[in-house]
């Protein structure tokens, strides 16, 4: 099986988010970057499938040289090779277009994305990528088994889940459930050493246009201090929820 895992390089969940002067962009100072958590579930699933069916796992991301540390981490976890599309992404349709330009004609049986990235929270790229490549798309994918050319998938829906079957190749937007958190792999020393010699190719942009742009970023207004209510006076909480917050 030839599997492509699309990876985002994102601020760690616990990072304090600040923006540069005038709110032009994310301020990367002091921010630790990681593999997007949704993508990490997908990468681990790809490795499981490779162990079961054989094949090759390629990771790809779109970014400048600063994202290579994240690709090396994916190689250390077990991907076979990595590709960096050289540019600075600013729009989901542009990202989908560039990923599609790279993936087209490469014969991938399976393209795994995270259902969204935890930085811009767009959730647009995986579906757009599938449509550009004219492939089926399964979002919020929490289960995937492959038998020959058939894929059986589980998708989370509002309040439940549903079964989906399709032929490979397929593009998925994955999340926890593809594998469990306990199955995620931490790179070991041997992995880190071998990652250094695995191929990391850099490809030029195909020229996919950005259709949106961020005018500015701001931080939400700081939340007012919590109003503590004595646990012996629960009617007071109910009153405030009714009269102040107007939610009941």
């Amino acid at each position: 099986m030839k599997i492509l895992v699309c990876i985002s390089h994102v601020p760690d969940t616990t990072a304090k988010i600040n923006f540069t002067a005038g709110g032009a962009a994310l301020d990367p100072n002091g921010v630790q970057f990681v593999i997007n958590p949704y993508d990490e579930f997908g990468l681990t699933k790809a490795l499981h499938l490779k162990e079961k069916h054989g094949g090759q796992v390629t990771v790809v991301t779109y970014g400048d040289a600063s994202v290579e540390a994240t690709l090396r981490k994916a190689l250390a976890i077990g991907a076979d090779d990595a590709v960096r599309i050289d540019g600075i992404p600013s729009d989901p349709m542009q990202v989908a277009g560039e990923l599609a330009a790279y993936a087209k004609g490469q014969g991938f049986d399976l393209i795994i994305c995270g259902q969204e990235s935890i930085d811009y929270n767009g959730g647009i790229v995986p579906g757009a990528l599938a449509a550009i490549l004219d492939l089926p798309y399964v979002n919020a994918c929490i289960g995937l088994e492959v038998n020959g050319r058939n894929a059986e998938l589980l998708r989370e829906i509002d309040g439940g889940k549903e079964q989906i079957t399709t032929l490979l190749p397929v593009v998925i937007g994955g999340k926890k459930g593809l594998v469990e958190e306990s199955e995620l792999r931490i790179p070991n020393m041997r992995g880190i050493m071998t990652a250094r010699s695995k191929p990391l190719a850099v490809t030029a942009l195909s020229g996919s246009p950005a259709l949106t742009s961020a005018n500015s970023f701001t931080k939400p207004a700081a939340k007012a201090a919590v109003q503590l209510i004595d646990s012996s006076n629960l009617d007071e909480l109910v009153r405030r929820l009714h009269e102040e917050a107007k939610v009941i």
């Binding site: 923006f19 349709m93 579906g127 919020a140 926890k176 500015s216 970023f217 503590l228 909480l237």
Partner: protein, 316 residues
């Protein structure tokens, strides 16, 4: 022209569908245009009832039974081209999110998701969206002729509908699904979390799975959905489908009540879109109190039954 994906589940409109229609109608009005809603597949209520939320016309496409992103995107895209629409509005439900990227690519449109407000400008289209797991607010502008706008469910609020009805048209079309949708399992009698206006959620402070009746009794009185923290779903006290947080489900209810949840940043990432947060915890230093609007320091087993009774008395 503004197009709206009027999502149905089991042949009925979802509440988020009315929100999307209301949003699309407001966009249309601001541009002296019209809002056209598209219903795909079986629908029991009369489709013209979407006029109550501002649709001037409803196109009902027949022939499909179940949601499938490729075929739904193709059907909507065909109508978007025919009507030269400038915005396509979806609610960010699980189906809306599945559809958004596929639809944008199929229609040659731009896409802006996580939308939290009406556009501040229509030329160029500029709209506020949430980013960085609610830690940032982005003003996003589109340069495309058509833009798919994906709303955060519950973020905009639903105004009461009018008596108006919309014009409607039935069409039979050929569907071209790329995957086969099989059996769905949905917990019966439960309010799906992403659309719940009120959510009661509990963590390890509940001590054991069998104590959840206290949580469910409070939820029942409030007509709320029930949720849990990640550790609770990891131990198996509650199903994964109730896990709210970064790797679980993201919710934006009007009222979120968290019991015995410490408030890890991964949890907050999934719930900080809630309008009002009430935290009940016996540890006064629990970090969740910093993100809460109202807090009660107390033991869940003491507070919960009395709180249920207090809400019951108020709501009666």
């Amino acid at each position: 022209m503004v197009l709206i994906f009027a999502e149905t589940w089991n042949g009925a409109f979802k509440k988020s569908t009315f929100e999307a229609v209301q949003y699309g109608a407001a966009c249309a009005q601001a541009q002296n245009s019209e809002a056209v809603a598209v219903v795909l597949g079986p629908c029991t209520p009369p489709v013209e009832s979407l006029g109550a939320h501002g649709a001037s016309k409803v196109i009902h496409l027949h022939g499909s039974e179940r949601f499938e992103p490729s075929s739904f995107a193709q059907a909507l895209s065909d109508i978007a081209r025919e009507l030269h629409v400038s915005q396509i509005v979806l609610s960010g439900t699980s189906n809306g999110k599945s559809l958004a990227g596929v639809l944008a690519a199929t229609s040659g449109a731009a896409a802006i998701s996580n939308v939290t407000a009406l556009p501040s400008s229509y030329s160029p289209l500029t709209v506020e969206r949430s980013a960085f797991s609610s830690k940032g607010i982005e003003q996003c502008a589109s340069t495309a002729a058509c833009t798919v706008l994906v709303l955060i469910p519950n973020a905009l609020g639903l105004k009461p509908g009018s008596e108006a009805t919309a014009a409607f048209e039935d069409r039979q079309i050929n569907w071209t699904p790329k995957s086969q949708v099989g059996e769905a399992q949905v917990a019966s009698g439960k309010i799906p979390l992403p659309e719940a206006e009120r959510v009661v959620s509990a963590g390890r402070g509940m001590k054991a799975a069998e104590n959840w009746n206290l949580v469910e009794e409070l939820a029942a009185v409030l007509n709320a959905g029930t949720a849990c923290s990640k550790p609770v779903s990891d131990i198996g006290w509650r199903p994964h489908s109730e896990h709210v947080g970064q790797t679980g489900i993201q919710i934006n209810p009007q009222l979120y009540i968290a019991i015995g949840i410490s408030g890890a940043i991964q949890h907050l990432a999934g719930v900080s879109g809630s309008k009002t947060i009430v935290v009940i915890n016996n540890d006064p230093d629990a970090p969740f109190f910093k993100a809460a609007d109202y807090g009660i320091v107390g033991d869940a087993f003491d507070v919960l039954p009395r709180l249920t009774a207090a809400f019951k008395a108020h709501l009666n």
